[in-house]
């Protein structure tokens, strides 16, 4: 998957909201590529133009411990810079992992269950 297919970005300037759809599972196999693509996507938008960042994970079905660790690092990094972090999740499995790992306590979680068809 190319970087652009992996991650894209959309800035909703009026709401000062940066939306980052992540079109991949976040596992030990993908976390390096996802991380790099994420940094590139964020770098396209000056920090002062957005306040809230949405991680749109609705196309991801799975996340493992490496993926959790990466998300944790990114969330801490963004919050240190005063940003508000929102996770959009559709996979019940990912939601359960985030519940257990405590990520759900660190971010604003928007979970709407969707039957996994992939």
């Amino acid at each position: 998957m190319s970087t652009r297919e992996l991650i894209s970005s959309e800035l909703k300037a009026s709401k000062k909201r940066l939306v980052i759809p992540i079109n991949s599972d976040i596992t030990s196999s993908t976390v390096d590529a996802v991380g790099e693509a994420f940094r590139e996507a964020v770098a396209q938008h000056p920090m002062e133009t957005w306040k809230t960042i949405y991680f749109d994970l609705r196309n991801a079905r799975m996340i493992d411990s490496k993926g959790v660790n990466w998300l944790f690092s990114e969330v801490r990094n963004l919050q240190t810079r005063g940003k508000i972090v929102v996770f959009q999740v559709a996979s019940p499995a990912i939601h359960r992992v985030m519940e257990f790992s405590g990520l759900e306590q660190l971010v604003i979680m928007k979970f709407r269950r969707r039957r996994q068809t992939r």
Partner: protein, 530 residues
């Protein structure tokens, strides 16, 4: 232009000599043509029966029988019915009787039509004696070849029916113990099995695969099965029978080693003694027998012997296994393994699906490219099979296979879905996350990423309660701390990157989690509907 002819004779006048080349029915409304054909074919050694129209030809064929003729020669253009009409009529009754159609010069499209209808040959006028002779000799030879083939096929079908009747019918006592999937693709040869109830609480099950699917293979298979029975009734062991038959195949029935004319036989005999709670496994080149415990986890019998017919000095392997804590014993031929490889799933998940399809009376939509034979012998026939954990995956991996984790995960997913169907729903991803975490732990910590070290993944399924059970074993040294306590005290948010996060995820997502052997064995259950 009419063909050269001699003095016309009565078309139905029998010839004087019985044709050594065969009997030909000739159909032509032109009396001059008929005379030429009769004379020319007599010279070739044929006996000729001549008719002048299709209706008459049909009467002669019915009166004398199709078998009385070796070929038919028919003009195409005749009043009322054509040569193609006659051809269709003949093929509806006897596809082996060759028919040659005579066409006028320039009737190429008609020729094509006649070939597509199944004509053996065509002849375009004017016809020479040489051309007629060659065409009719070939037609008679084709008829003889086709008839022999059909005769052989009928013989093979009879042999196959007899084999299935005598050897694959299970009596009541056997039926209680055995679940069977038997899909032979040919009439004879290939996979076979027989099962017998012996004195006391003893059973003998023999399964095998003979090379080839011809009469020779069928003969070898039947002879071997008869011999096994004879040895058993004389109180001799299966191992003795195997050794004798191997020498027979190598020395008397085949050349040395394996060659095109030799027949080989992969076979396994299971001699159950339920009173002694043991089974004796005797095997020559057969896939390993699978022993399933009450958790649905498996071990395998030893292997190493050649198929019979390969090497007269190599006898079968034999071992005696206790049946304590064994729910059932399973044997299958290599057709199951090949089919599973083609589907890219574990053979155990394919076996489970086939057994369940058979149990539910479903005609499985699965069509193997080779013979399929799968036999499960349940130790306790009183127990419902769906109340037992059934194995659906058993794989061993070297420590460096973590690099292929995505491919392995895809195989696990396909195998699970194949065996369990859509029952798991969204819980499938909970299970896949746990499998991934558990196996990565085994690869990195237990095997230290080394290709020299091996870890094992097993999965089983309990149909009645819809529970998937997983066991992961690695060769690591384990640890001395209380992992469960550590997981309970883990604070991910405070520590940031929590140690044992992966195992913590497994514990959280599964419905039952356990550790054995100082943490080198993980066990967890997933309820489909928690």
């Amino acid at each position: 232009m009419p063909a050269p002819h001699s003095t016309p004779t009565q078309p139905n006048e029998p010839t004087d000599s019985v044709g050594r080349a065969g009997t030909v029915l000739v159909v032509d409304d032109d009396p001059h043509g008929l005379t030429f054909f009769r004379a020319s074919l007599k010279l070739c050694g044929f006996r000729v029966v001549a008719t002048m129209n299709v209706a008459e030809a049909q009467e002669r064929l019915e009166a004398m029988g199709m078998d009385a003729f070796d070929a038919v020669l028919s003009d195409f253009r005749m009043p009322e019915a054509t040569g193609l009409d006659l051809l269709r009529w003949i093929r509806a009754r006897d596809r082996s009787l060759s028919t040659v159609i005579i066409t006028a010069q320039g009737e190429k499209d008609l020729v094509k039509a006649s070939l597509s209808e199944g004509a053996t040959e065509f002849l375009e006028k004017p016809i020479t004696h040489q051309a007629l002779r060659d065409a009719m000799l070939k037609a008679a030879a084709d008829t003889a070849r086709m008839r022999k083939f059909e005769y052989d096929q009928a013989g093979l079908r009879d042999a196959g029916r007899l084999d299935r009747f005598f050897n694959t019918t299970l009596g009541e006592e056997l039926s209680a113990h055995i679940r069977l999937v038997y899909q032979p693709l040919h009439e004879v040869g290939g996979d076979f099995f027989s099962a017998r109830k012996l004195a006391g609480d003893r059973f003998l099950i023999v399964a095998g695969d003979v090379s080839g699917h011809d009469i020779r293979s069928g003969f070898v298979s039947a002879y071997f099965q008869g011999m096994i029975r004879g040895f058993e009734e004389a109180g001799q062991s299966a191992r003795e029978a195997f050794s004798v038959f191997n020498r027979l195949l190598c020395d008397e029935w085949g050349g040395p080693g394996v060659d095109a004319g030799a027949t080989s036989l992969s076979v396994c005999a299971l001699e159950f003694d339920l009173a002694q709670s043991s089974v004796t496994v005797t095997s020559s080149g057969f896939p390993p027998v699978v022993f399933c415990d009450r958790h649905g986890f498996v071990t395998h019998s030893i292997t190493g012997a050649f198929p019979m017919g390969w090497d007269r000095t190599r006898g079968p392997v034999r071992e005696i296994r206790p049946l304590d804590d064994v729910s059932f014993v399973c044997m299958h031929t290599d057709g199951l393994i090949d089919f599973a490889t083609e589907l890219e799933i574990d053979p155990l998940s394919l076996a489970q699906r086939l057994i369940m399809d058979g149990k539910e009376g479903v005609n499985s939509a699965l069509h193997s490219p080779d013979d399929l034979l799968l036999i499960r012998f349940f130790i306790n026939p009183e127990q419902s099979t769906t109340a037992l954990f059934q194995p659906i995956l058993h794989e061993s991996y070297s420590g460096d296979e973590y690099q292929d984790i995505d491919h392995l995960q895809a195989v696990w997913r396909r195998s699970i879905q194949f065996a369990v169907g859509d029952e798991l729903g969204d819980r499938l991803y909970d299970l896949l996350i746990c499998l991934r975490e558990g196996m990565l732990n085994a690869f990195h910590h237990g095997c230290e990423g080394s290709p020299e070290k091996i870890c094992t993944l097993q999965m089983s399924y309990l149909p009645d309660e819809k529970v998937v059970r997983v066991r992961i074993d690695d060769p690591g040294k384990g640890h001395n701390f209380d992992l469960k306590k550590r997981l309970a005290e883990m604070d991910i948010a405070a520590e940031g990157r929590g140690r044992n996060l992966g195992l913590g995820i497994i514990q959280h997502l599964s419905d039952k989690f356990g550790i054995e052997n100082k943490g080198t064995s993980l066990l967890f259950d997933f309820h489909v509907h928690p």
